[in-house]
Symmetry: C2
Subunit: 326 residues, 2 copies
């Protein structure tokens, strides 16, 4: 039941011009990404002095975006840089806001955008932690405002987490999913506002364990990076943690894994205590992996995992060889 | 100060024959890896009935090992499979034990190995959690016993964590590092026995946060894998968590990152509480990243990061296209 005001944005496939707010790595990264996807981009920067570094960031991103493949219509000439917000949002079909992570600053910005932008234009915030419920508080048209949190660098990582605030409309979310997907991103809609969203929560758990380990002289900074790069990293890049354990469990999959390694959840293998491994939690994990396996048998999954790992590790090896001049 | 008995193994570069104990994915994975590196391998299995599945696992691993490049001397014909432990260790230069994770079983095995193996042959245990101090308890020659914990699949992931028990000698550790490195692995020596070693601790923190999220309906199994694969996964595969944040911090690096995002350590972005970000912890992280940067400036690091991410993501994209028959 959506009790919020509705919004009727245009077709997400027909977006032509985008306003990207912010001159930092996230704002510049989005600008570069949208340009590479063929859009016209109005980049709003706070001060004229930021233009040089904005353009340098975009030029750097362009190298990688070219390697990954530009859209036919892509051109750096489609970038306009301005310090005037009204000019920046003129005739745009979508706004991606990547201003500094300061709640009152974002609230002021969303109040202004609410006034100067036609009410059917969706506004996404790149915030990595502030709830949209707070950001949209002074906005007169909050129904079209949604979190669209990218992962750094936004011109390379596909993930964008989408989170509603209390006054966001479902139409804005649906529009944003369709738009990001059309633009080549991998949108992930959260069912509710949780601190850190999904990816950052998982990343942060690992990061905090790493900080504890450095603090307690259990591992150095170098050892932590070395362990991840040569151990779980490539598996996560290719499969994620759940499917890694599903395939690691052999023919028995996640069910075998949980039944076998369940007791390890009681061991002090991290400072984070595990939840009780109830039957329902176990079943949910098993079923989630089965859904992702989608009927592929064990040997097929095994071969796909191995091909993925070989490809990832070959790619990294070649990059490192190139970087070290081999 | 090493008060333990010393051990004088032969040259790690002159190992010819290896005994690999265990018919499961770890034991079979090691056997395949050592065969691909050109060694003769005596594979000890508990029951003759395990031979078929052992050989199937090795055959599967061989496909990937061939793609990564076999040693000139590599041959599947150098594999001998036996259920007799004395035959298995005959004339071997090294033993890699990957028996089931059962302490009393491993204690019995190490007692036997201690009796039948010449005292200068190093024995490594693949255990992912049992302390060598416990495993070596009934072994008459514990000084040559060390944990050598691989990451699954051991024929693909380079990491091997090396941990001494109370009665292990430093020579055995040094020998093992030199041997694994010669054999193409990425050894990581722990300064002391900590539960879960290094990589598993970090992996386990992420995994437990994931379990909590599923339990609390914050994310589904699919959403967790999707978030990691499209977000932090490729960065971890290429750089690890610390260098990812170092480069993400821009010109200011890890120092900027910690000074800027330090307050986020107090936020409930995971269920794991962070340590106090003291000046000394901050400095240790900054210095660790600077050591890894080894004089490369920001723009060089940025270009290397981007090349790595482009390569990893292209590799995964091609694999997924192949798997889905595109």
């Amino acid at each position: 039941m959506d009790k919020n005001k509705t919004v009727s944005p245009g077709s997400p496939q027909q977006v032509k011009r985008i306003c990207s707010i912010g001159a930092g790595p996230i704002g510049a990264g989005w600008s570069a990404y949208f340009l590479a996807a063929g859009y016209e981009v109005n980049s709003y920067i706070h001060q004229a002095s930021e233009e040089a570094s904005l353009r340098a960031l975009i030029d750097n991103a362009w190298i990688s975006l070219t390697e990954l493949g530009l859209a036919e219509a892509a051109s750096l000439d489609k970038l306009k840089v301005t310090t005037d917000l009204i000019t920046a949002v003129q005739d745009v079909d979508f706004v991606q806001e990547s201003a500094p992570e300061d709640l009152s600053l974002k609230q002021t910005l969303f109040k202004q955008l609410g006034e100067i932008l036609p009410p059917n234009i969706v506004i996404a915030s790149s915030t990595s932690g502030l709830p949209m419920t707070d950001i949209q508080q002074s906005c007169a048209t909050p129904e079209r405002t949604v979190v669209g949190h990218p992962f750094n660098p936004p011109y390379l990582m596909p993930l964008v987490e989408i989170v509603k605030g209390n006054n966001s409309s479902q139409q804005a979310v649906d529009w944003l999913v369709a738009f990001y997907r059309h633009a080549g991103k991998a949108p992930l809609v959260l069912s509710r506002e949780i601190p850190g969203f999904i990816a950052t929560r998982l990343q942060e758990a690992l990061w905090r364990e790493a900080l504890h380990m450095v603090e307690n002289k259990e591992a150095t900074v170098e050892e932590i990076d070395f362990a991840i790069v040569n151990g779980p990293g490539p598996r996560w890049a290719h499969l994620g943690p759940c499917m890694t354990f599903h395939i690691g469990g052999g023919e028995g999959g996640m069910a075998y894994n949980l039944d076998h390694f369940g007791p390890a959840l009681k061991l002090p293998w991290t400072r984070l205590e595990a939840p009780e491994l109830t039957q329902s939690l176990r079943d949910e994990l098993v079923e989630g992996c089965d859904r992702q396996a989608a009927g592929r048998d064990y040997i097929t999954l095994l071969r796909e995992r191995d091909s993925g790992l070989v490809a990832v590790m070959k790619a990294i090896r070649e990059c490192n060889d190139k970087a070290s001049g081999l």
